[in-house]
């Protein structure tokens, strides 16, 4: 239970950082998706159902900042969370570079879903926005995720993991 509370608290802090700080650390117009980093860190070695629920809740939390597309990030991150939990651990080597690649791909999938919803499935606009914004943001997020995962590996295991596997 304590672990769940810590996760909730951490998620809320990440959300605060996402809505307050991230717009100050943009690079070439691209900003990192801290909630995606949080999702990957949370579900990469969990069961797929945990990935779906965590993705949905984190996405919904992210949607609270954008009333016009309520449910958009919940949908995208549910799918991405399921994919990370389902395939990330089993099919990717336990290597930090592959984890970074996983985050990169997850960001791209997340953006494909959200862009289609936001631009009403207009292929031309979606492709343009995808190449204009998504790739750079995904690379930025992947780089940040690698850094965060390295820090987590250094921290004592007891601080970031529960004893049981959900």
């Amino acid at each position: 239970m304590t672990y769940v509370l810590r996760i909730v608290l951490a998620s809320f802090i990440v959300f605060i950082l996402q809505v307050t700080v991230v717009h100050n650390v943009t690079a070439a117009g691209a900003s990192p998706d801290l909630i995606m980093v949080m999702l990957v860190v949370l579900v990469i070695d969990r069961k797929p159902i945990v990935g779906i629920i965590a993705g949905f809740l984190l996405g919904f939390l992210q949607d609270l900042g954008n009333a016009s597309f309520l449910g958009m990030n919940a949908l995208a991150k549910s799918i991405v969370g399921y994919g990370i939990a389902r395939y990330g651990r089993d099919y990717l080597p336990d290597n930090i570079l592959f984890k970074g690649l996983l985050v990169f791909v997850a960001c791209l999938i997340n953006d494909i879903i959200t862009l289609n919803i936001a631009i009403s499935f207009d292929p031309t606009e979606v492709i343009f926005a995808f190449f204009r914004y998504s790739i750079l943001s995904a690379a930025y997020t992947a780089l940040l995720a690698v850094l965060v995962m390295q820090i987590i590996d250094i921290l004592p295991r007891r601080m970031v993991r529960s004893g049981d596997r959900y």
Binding site: T20, S68, G71, A74, L75, S78
Partner: protein, 297 residues
């Protein structure tokens, strides 16, 4: 029951995923108004600290930018203040050197004209202020537009003012633009002449004439008249300069006695005034005999 067993026992993950997708799509397809109101109601409970934190960071940025701007402004104003302080000190030093401190601050006492002289050659007026109001002999008198005369006799509640349009009154004046000095003398009506102006002096029609302050009878700087005519006289060394007085001396109804700025009883002015009074008395005597004369400057 078999359906629930199928969904939640054998395909739990897919069922949860489908439920999440369905719920997300349901939220996406809700009307905008209901979504916004729902988000607002949730946000008001959950995201209030976030909003405050966001506002805090925004306000910090704005305050930082404003602080930078104000720092620049403070530096600029400090320099300007320093320059102005230097100008003020310099001005005070120069005023002290030039003795402007005493002569620059006049006070004007308004008076009503209560009587006029009946003499053709001795134009004066009587005003309703006297020694009880602090009026002293020798004080200059001005109209709305310029110099009018000066106080010659003071009674308890009235004073006699000798106007400029007297043959016995000569006023040292200078041309404001070119600082040419001359002596103002009455000719007729409201017209005067500026005497002792050399042929080469720079005087033009339209120039303003002011008191020079020489002789310390009249303080310097009061406007007197305007040059309306400049005539070269080939046979003489001086120019004939015609002046029209700014104050219409024949229609004075209110005047102002200049009561501040000098010690009117203390110096040469008082002696000059006494001399002038004696000359006026002689002029009155001459008037009886059909003549006039005397002067002051």
């Amino acid at each position: 029951m078999q359906i629930f067993s199928f969904l939640f026992d054998r395909h739990l993950e897919k069922t949860v995923l489908a439920a999440a997708i369905a719920l997300s799509v349901f939220m996406l397809t809700r009307p905008e108004d209901s979504k916004i109101s729902a988000v607002r109601s949730i946000s008001s409970f959950l995201l209030y600290p976030v909003g405050r934190a966001d506002d805090y960071f925004i306000s910090v940025e704005e305050l930082s930018a404003e602080n930078d701007r104000l720092r620049g402004l403070v530096v600029s104003l400090s320099h300007e203040n320093e320059r102005l302080t230097q100008f003020r000190d310099e001005r005070n030093r120069l005023r002290e050197l030039l003795g402007f401190r005493k002569d620059s601050f006049y006070e004007f006492m308004p008076c009503d004209v209560i009587a006029r002289s009946s003499s053709r050659f001795h134009h004066s007026i009587t005003v309703d202020r006297g020694s009880g109001s602090g009026v002293l002999p020798g004080m200059p008198v001005v109209g709305y537009k310029g110099l009018a005369g000066r106080v010659t006799q003071v009674f308890s509640s009235s004073s006699r003012v000798l106007l400029l349009n007297n043959k016995s009154v000569l006023v040292s004046c200078l041309v404001k633009r070119s600082r040419v000095v001359g002596v103002l003398a009455w000719e007729r009506g409201n017209l005067f002449s500026l005497d002792y102006v050399g042929k080469e002096e720079d005087v033009l029609p339209g120039d303003t004439l002011i008191t020079s302050g020489f002789g310390r009878v009249f303080p310097g700087g009061f406007p007197v008249g305007t040059v309306f005519q400049v005539a070269d006289e080939k046979t003489e060394l001086s120019r004939r300069v015609g002046i029209v007085c700014m104050t219409d001396l024949n229609k004075l109804e209110e005047v102002f006695i200049v009561i501040g700025g000098r010690d009117w009883e203390g110096g040469e002015a008082w002696l000059e005034l006494e001399k002038s009074r004696r000359e006026e008395e002689n002029a009155d005597d001459d008037e009886k005999d059909g003549g006039g004369g005397g002067g002051e400057q």
